[in-house]
Symmetry: C3
Amino acid sequence: QSNLQLYGRLDVVVDSVRFKGTPNSVSVTDLSTDTSYWGVRGREDLGAGLKAFFKLESGFSVDTGAQGSATQFFNREAYVGMGGNFGSVQLGSQYTPALWITTKVDPFQRSANGAIFNLMQQNGGNRQRGYLLLQNNALQYVSPDVKGFSARAMLGLSEQTAAPRDVGEFRSASIEYSQGAFYGGFSIEDLKIASTPAGAAWSNKTVTLGATYDLRTVKLYGYLLKNTLTNSRDAEGYMLGLTYPVGAGTVRASYSAREVDGIAGSKASVMALGYTYDLSKRTTLYTSYALLDNGAASNMGLWPSSKTHGLPATGQDVRSIEAGIRHFF
Amino acid sequence: QSNLQLYGRLDVVVDSVRFKGTPNSVSVTDLSTDTSYWGVRGREDLGAGLKAFFKLESGFSVDTGAQGSATQFFNREAYVGMGGNFGSVQLGSQYTPALWITTKVDPFQRSANGAIFNLMQQNGGNRQRGYLLLQNNALQYVSPDVKGFSARAMLGLSEQTAAPRDVGEFRSASIEYSQGAFYGGFSIEDLKIASTPAGAAWSNKTVTLGATYDLRTVKLYGYLLKNTLTNSRDAEGYMLGLTYPVGAGTVRASYSAREVDGIAGSKASVMALGYTYDLSKRTTLYTSYALLDNGAASNMGLWPSSKTHGLPATGQDVRSIEAGIRHFF
Amino acid sequence: QSNLQLYGRLDVVVDSVRFKGTPNSVSVTDLSTDTSYWGVRGREDLGAGLKAFFKLESGFSVDTGAQGSATQFFNREAYVGMGGNFGSVQLGSQYTPALWITTKVDPFQRSANGAIFNLMQQNGGNRQRGYLLLQNNALQYVSPDVKGFSARAMLGLSEQTAAPRDVGEFRSASIEYSQGAFYGGFSIEDLKIASTPAGAAWSNKTVTLGATYDLRTVKLYGYLLKNTLTNSRDAEGYMLGLTYPVGAGTVRASYSAREVDGIAGSKASVMALGYTYDLSKRTTLYTSYALLDNGAASNMGLWPSSKTHGLPATGQDVRSIEAGIRHFF
């Protein structure tokens, strides 16, 4: 049991949120929670360069102790894999290739209220114009690093026995490149979803492109996303950001936006400014300010306030100021 | 990961319960479970006298393997804290200041069917005339020990955006003193609850006072509780108890009662006698006898039989004889 | 905390399933999961030959990360025990005596789609003509090994306060014998269930007899089950199997069948052929083929495809070909 590890993260914030305008302006102070989880992971050396490994991870909320999902306890990946020089193969419930790019090109590290996923990630209901976070019943190949390049390919099985049998099927691939001060990643994915009215499955395709460039001190971040959906207009998103180290701390800023082509008022944007201060490798204090500007036809939410209060009304803007602590174990 | 700890407690009992009188007398033998949990906790030394720490704890039943709460998996505290010479600050889902006093003044150590919380603790529905156990969205300050004195202050945020916005808000403080053979604790709390009919929030206030005195061999225990609720009569409770060591074992006895002022038949009392025997620091055998006497207008329950059978009928008495094993890991 | 252990198993398979005939033939490829769990167990030496021990184990699905039960989190035993030269006593939610015999006489080790429990184990609803897997509120005595003999006796309490008060009561005992190349086990159990129409509880009795004989290289397996239910015809099942080691791998084969006496079309049978290959003590690759033949009045399912697709239609046959990986930690 050499490589068995119990690990986790607790992230809790005091969050002052203001919902502006329609129907009424209201300010509220929450104790909220950002990405928090615990898990077990391990690895076994099988000899001849082969290894087996697994991960089980469960999300929860520090403010209430509630599990992240009522039914999917290990809702942050559950898989077994085997690997070697050829790369590795993983079977189970897994993050999509697109997810891994966002972990590298988000100045806010997918946390705090400037997180890139606010506008870019699929989030249930009709908020489906973005990359998918997690895919059940997934087979994934992860390549080794070859001269800075690495790649992923994933197939998520639909497991349907009734027509249309491809509803739920997911295919995705990504390629990433890292060299010196530069990182770039590209992903493409296609999720088959039920059509309205019922009939042949629709294709929900998302392409993402992310990059960072480290100018020393200042580091630049960029992200582009394009989503096409059968019988719908295209949707696009982008993000520009930077980080700037100040002593043991880092200033973080980003501007992101998404809209559906030719739909008036569909644009939403998030402007965010933050500061993180590392007390140690495991413990970080942070603060951030973010303003979500929803167009007249948009009702995107701002994490993590959307956890407590749900989505704002259509067209309603949200402002958040937060201060929190993040602790890894 | 120096201070990471996986820990827990399993407590299982054979419980012979008798429900007396209305509607019918019935005796039943259960395999039941007392306080059982598992958790993960850790601490990190940040230097300069500072530390970060966390706790995640989940309750369950040994007799069925069921989790304590369907939605709140870590239902026995989930928090992150930072501390130093100044004391510590904790953010998350936490036990109230009043809880910690009961852990010290209950001859039955909050276990077995003489446990102090039977009559003193809020327990949902209209059984709200007591101290609160756990508060979500809570900020807590815990003082260091200063010449035997220590204090706690807690604020639980309501997070409401609609009027009355203070419903759910919780404020509490406690002070405890320990010197030689004496321990004393005092707590005050105020939970805002929804009024009937709807309107301004009602104030549900509880004051508790607990003390123990160790006469060598015999140790004495006492507890007083007073609850005031807007538009309601006051409620009071008290407990007197003692423990007496016998070899590796301890005899335990208590009498507790609560009633609402001027409400005929509202009095409930629990008389309990028990014996615990420590096989080791981690494993204890125990037995206890308890009689719950419900007044004509009272339907308090007796733990842990109330877990299996729910509350008795109004006015129904409950007698329990149990023998169990408690094991810490 | 000397003997505290965090452990588990992940078992994930690619499963090509064919549902034949009525209503329509359909083939589907799944990522499915076989028996997977994580748990915590520990033991404490109490001196004088005494020990205390516990087990908490929770099942889950690797393909989705879902917990095995929405309400019973530790759904694969939760108990505390004490033991010594006299054997041990265990209190909690526990596997039945009959279960332990199936772990030894199943050529497929209770896994893959040839698993013995497909036809032999109670499985809810009207599929109750087999041994019970798990019993809550159970007291169990486990004997020490005496010259190859060992025994178990279990009482599961009904905890009913309303008539018929014995509904849910469970009594079982087993005796096992192991000597050289031979293993044999015998179990008897009686579960009281609600009658239709309501009245005195019905008795659901199951007797099982299992044995293995190791001829070196080839090992033979046999199993017999007889179930009697008040006011119903008897049901019988049997299994014959063998394993044959080939290098680091093992060929596995079995044929099992069950039917209700004198009910035309009630017969179901499973024919299975498999191969397991141990990459290490902890990691195994495997493949298997199985054909479930349901009689015209039978709708037994084939694990693990029944997890994803539920039971087949009455009379429908199921064929499965799977390849998977099993990893212990």
